[in-house]
Amino acid sequence: MTTVNIISLNKTYPNSAAPVLKDFSLSVHDGEMVAFLGPSGSGKSTLLKLITGIERPDSGDIHFDGVSILNVHPNKRGAVLMFQKSYLFPFLNVEDNIGFGLKVQGMSSASIRAEVKRMLNLIGLPGIEKRKSGQLSGGEGQRVALARALVTNPKLLLLDEPLSSLDTSVRINLQEAIRAIQRELGVTTIFVTHDLGEAMAMSDRMALLLNGEIVALDKPEALFHRPRSVAAAKFMGVSTFLSGNQPCPEQGRRVTVKNEVCFSSEKIFAIRPEHIRVQKGGCENSMRGVVSDCVFRGEYIEYQVDVNAATVRARMPMPAPMFPHGAQVFVKFPQEHLFEVT
């Protein structure tokens, strides 16, 4: 299959000052699924356009298996796309939609029919060949779109928020299906999303994108538990940072709690909200605070506690105590859960 190397891509659109991609480099291994996570405007979609050839980069290169594809015509690159909308051709039935890529390559209709049948079995929707694309549900439409993309045996599969317009139950179902099919076929895949849970559930590695640059790239669990930078930590849902020379706020020593990090020579430590404890009595590694909000979320309780003019967000699993607004509490930062970020 295919190894993809993205080498120092730069792209600025004509009528905007800020570049969309800045010196962007990344390698995707053969058969791997890499998720790109980032807010809108972070350059995710532009990257996909550069890979498929809808747009050209200002500089840099893209290699498939060590060969540059920048001068390969978009329809010969073998990089197929799947969007949020299925974009099934409304005037074709399911069979002709899936077979489209094979037909334009000149394959015989008998072989196309066989291939379509194989793909429909793979996506778990056998026997719907003659249905109109308008008669499919959102989830079915996306499955057919996946089949249409994969039937051509692409070198690279590009998924651009393919699940974000679907209901939660259908979405989780399809996350598993796409992951399973991708593993089975071993197709190299780049997956763009803004949903953290989806990115973690589906990818081998995750790349966090901000303003056209990769701020972190690692396995999901590594990124989740030990993000190395402040930006990466924020992506992963961390909002409490502690600064000081030591990770443990020992008794009598001043430690500042920060929401926003200002860059200083001091070391910065971060802690995930579910590791922070909110309790009545003081103890080791705890600080005094005032409860500003306490929300019952079902499986857990979410606290907002004002500590040293900053707000600490904590999350404790049920059963956990509820505190009224203005209650005096102690916020505990267990030492084993603090990690240093840069």
């Binding site: 329809n75 969007f83 051709f89 005037f91 890529g101 249409r148």
Partner: protein, 264 residues
């Protein structure tokens, strides 16, 4: 009571709409319908047959049909690329392009025809089918472009990107995706162009110089002094294509009907 008024008015409206063909049929298929008789008494196809036997009638109809079909096709070919960028792209000068393409709809055909008459005489295009066809493009192009630009504005290019990523070449994309997606409005635009060309009188007169005859020219000269039966028979032939076209495209017209406005 209220309902009755509505039905009565609606009935009146339909009578008004059905009146022209009925009137023409009454005059075209009757004979010796003299003054005081309120309705035709004798029915015959003789008058209609006489008009059909006149060699000019059928050749005019054929010539008009040929011109109108050529004009529709040429309009589509010229309008497609222009409509695409007007509908899909934002660029400097877009407003100017719109205005320039809008101009032929407000400059009177009289002025266009008189000016082109001189130009085409010099180019040797006066009195030729080519000249008349070219001249008809002026009133048809704006409407074809506006109609198609409207549907390009609602067109999602991602369908084309999909086809491209799946390996289709530009020609295959155009043929299998773009044309198929736009088929309804292509048809509407072609029919508008056809109607405008088919009923064009002044430009055909001034460019054709009597050598290119179409049905509106024959009808006009009959109406200026012919007998009612021939006028009615020619009218029937003249309205047959428009009536067919409008009946077949009633649905599309409710979206675009007013775009052909005045020229027609």
């Amino acid at each position: 009571m209220r309902h009755l008024t509505i039905y009565a008015l609606r009935f009146l409206l339909y009578i008004l709409l059905a009146a022209p063909p009925l009137l023409f049929a009454a005059y075209a298929f009757s004979t010796r319908w003299f003054f005081p008789a309120p309705f035709p008494a004798e029915w015959t196809t003789a008058a209609f047959a006489r008009v059909l036997r006149d060699s000019r009638t059928l050749s005019s109809a054929a010539q008009g049909l040929g011109i109108a079909l050529t004009v529709s096709l040429l309009s589509l070919i010229l309008a497609l690329p222009a409509a695409r960028v007007l509908g899909l792209r934002k660029f400097r000068g877009r407003q100017t392009a719109w205005l320039l393409l809008f101009l032929p709809t407000v400059v009177p055909p009289l002025a266009i025809g008189m000016g082109l008459n001189i130009l085409f005489l010099r180019l040797g295009l006066a009195g030729t089918l080519t000249g008349v066809t070219l001249a008809h493009l002026l009133p048809t192009l704006p409407y074809t472009i506006f109609t198609l630009a409207g549907s390009f504005a609602r067109f999602d290019e991602n369908y084309e990107f999909q086809a491209l990523a799946l390996g289709a070449n530009p020609f295959q994309i155009f043929l299998h995706i773009t044309l198929r997606m736009l088929a309804p409005s292509l048809l509407t635009a072609a029919l508008f162009a056809f109607l405008i060309s088919w009923s064009q009188y002044l430009l055909t007169l001034l460019i054709g110089g009597g050598q290119v005859l179409t049905l509106p020219l024959l009808l006009f000269s009959a109406a200026s002094g012919g007998n009612p039966s021939s006028i009615a028979a020619l009218s029937l032939l003249f309205i047959a294509p428009p009536v067919l076209v409008i009946a077949l495209t009633a649905r599309a017209l409710s979206q675009h009907g007013n775009e052909i406005r005045e020229q027609y």
